[in-house]
């Protein structure tokens, strides 16, 4: 690991100023992405600003939404009773991610900002990686790829955004509060991440020194149900090959309203609006479920190693739609 200076401020303003003043500085939260990448030599900041002592931990329950401090851990958010009742798919996505040890360390803010698991990105001896070094090429498109994206990508980069919890969060249209060198602002998650096919080296709209202080998560209305299905190479402690977050409200035997997002497929957590539109106000119909999935995956860009994801994503979504509409069939 390259040597670095270490600061541990106790006020948000100090933390922002410390990173803003040093182009080579980075924030440190739970460290499960940051320390990992520094050990691998992929990321070599000369200063770490440890934000874990900032007063940004805890959950405020309001009538329509949760205000979640950015340093709240994945385990803490999953344990919140309101999350279990009104945001079931958020809880499921949290508990199906990583391991208990990692979830005790990993913060919600850090989770949204985790870097891709692309093995070429994580190996500094691989020179072709447009995400790490612009215009160097992409080792993944020509080599073994599997844990990679098929939506929002092109031949310049097929990096996957591997967060689980970001998938239901984008379905409920959560937003983040950001404190930065130029003041405070709110960014809806639907506008937070930048697709790899829109610029492989830019991952999100945050600027240097921007600190996420809070994540605001709207509660699903009463009477909605939700669930997260994660398909992976082993039963537990593994990233998703594909996943589906579905929240819906049944109106008799019709789907009244619905929210869908897919994981494991996109360079950003993928909101499936085409599918929502095709299913809203329709009867429960497995054929239509599959058509809705096909519509989302129609724009897929695949390489030999990721071609299986198109069918798998369609089936993952279909099965989750069946599960979520089951009680009314």
């Amino acid at each position: 690991m390259r040597a670095f200076l270490y600061d541990r401020p106790t006020a948000v303003g100090e933390a922002v100023a410390a990173v803003a003043a040093d182009p080579q500085a980075a924030f440190l939260a739970g460290g499960t992405t940051q320390v990992d990448l520094m050990k691998d030599g992929v990321w070599t900041p000369d200063r770490l600003v440890d934000i874990t002592r900032l007063p940004l931990r805890g959950i405020l329950v309001e009538s329509q939404q949760l205000k979640v401090g950015a340093l709240t851990t994945m385990e803490q958010l999953a344990a919140e009773p309101v999350v279990e009742q009104r945001l079931t798919f958020v809880r499921e996505a949290l508990l199906l991610g990583a391991s208990v040890q990692l979830r005790n360390m990993a913060t919600i803010g850090g989770n949204l900002l985790q870097r891709t698991r692309c093995r070429y990105f994580r190996d500094p001896t691989v020179s072709a990686c447009n995400r790490r070094s612009p215009d160097s090429g992409c080792a993944a498109v020509d080599n073994v790829a599997r844990m990679h994206a098929v939506l929002g990508v092109d031949e310049r980069c097929i990096a996957l955004h591997a967060s689980d919890v970001a998938v239901p969060l984008i379905a409920v249209e959560a937003s983040v509060l950001v404190d930065g060198p130029s003041g405070q602002r709110r960014i809806p998650l639907t506008e937070f991440w930048v697709r790899a096919d829109e610029g492989p080296s830019i991952e999100n709209v945050l600027g240097h020194g921007d600190l996420i202080t809070e994540i605001d998560i709207p509660l699903l209305p009463q009477g909605w149900r939700s669930g997260y299905l994660k398909v992976r190479d082993r039963a537990s402690y593994e990233f998703a090959l594909t996943s589906a977050a579905v929240a819906l409200q049944m109106d008799g035997d019709m789907i009244g309203d619905i929210r869908i997002a897919l994981g494991g497929v996109g360079s950003v957590p993928w909101r499936a609006r085409e599918a929502e539109e095709m299913l809203r106000g329709t009867h429960v119909d497995p054929v239509r479920f599959e058509q809705a999935g096909r519509a989302v995956m129609a724009s897929a860009f695949t390489v030999p190693g990721t071609a299986f994801k198109v069918d798998l994503a369609v089936r993952t979504l279909s099965r989750q739609l069946l599960t979520m509409t089951e009680a009314s069939r």
């Binding site: 040597a3 541990r8 460290g31 499960t32 320390v35 990992d36 050990k39 040890q101 990692l102 360390m105």
Partner: protein, 171 residues
């Protein structure tokens, strides 16, 4: 904690790259002066001489380095030593009580819940939290919530049996 920017790592700048950590390890106060890069795992093994905590993958994938920080299980290979300043750390050396081994340690022995034993300290530390978290209600739950601890020897069935025994209070 305030530091100023330097361009080169001159010897005179050495102090800026070290950090003083005041912590409590297994109930005893400890003070370490370490390089900022030092992970908690390295501080425990190399500075504190507590080699019960194992380095497996060193990248968050195996659970061999599991310890407790303020009573919660974490991976010491991905945590900086500096981050436990003011916190309480418990390692496998601190698991046994004054009256003898922890019930989990006895159950692991009775059930032969290891072969080489390399993963065992991490398994024990993880299982101790699992019990406190109330997640040992079924074998399926034990497997799920112990999934962050890999065992290359494949002693899983016996590990689950040992934990189940202690959870049911059959000891």
């Amino acid at each position: 904690m305030k530091t100023t920017r330097t361009t080169a790592r001159a010897p005179s700048a050495q102090d800026q790259y070290t950090v003083d950590v005041f912590t409590v390890v297994n109930g005893a106060p400890a003070q370490w002066r370490v390089d900022t890069r030092t992970t908690l795992l390295e501080a425990l093994r190399d500075t504190a001489g507590l080699t019960g905590t194992k380095r497996g993958c060193d990248q968050g994938a195996c659970g061999a380095c599991t310890v407790h920080v303020d009573g919660q299980r974490v991976l010491s290979c991905l945590m900086l030593a500096a981050q436990v300043d003011g916190r309480q750390v418990t390692t496998v050396e601190g698991l046994a009580g004054e009256l003898g081994p922890h019930p989990l340690q006895e159950a692991f022995m009775r059930h032969d819940a290891f072969q080489c034993g390399f993963c065992t300290p991490g398994q024990l530390m993880s299982a101790a939290c699992l019990l406190r978290e109330g997640r040992a209600g079924s074998d399926a739950d034990i497997r799920e919530y112990m999934s962050g601890n890999l065992c290359r020897c494949g002693a899983y069935d016996n590990i689950v049996a040992a934990i189940r025994d202690v959870a049911k209070g059959t000891d």
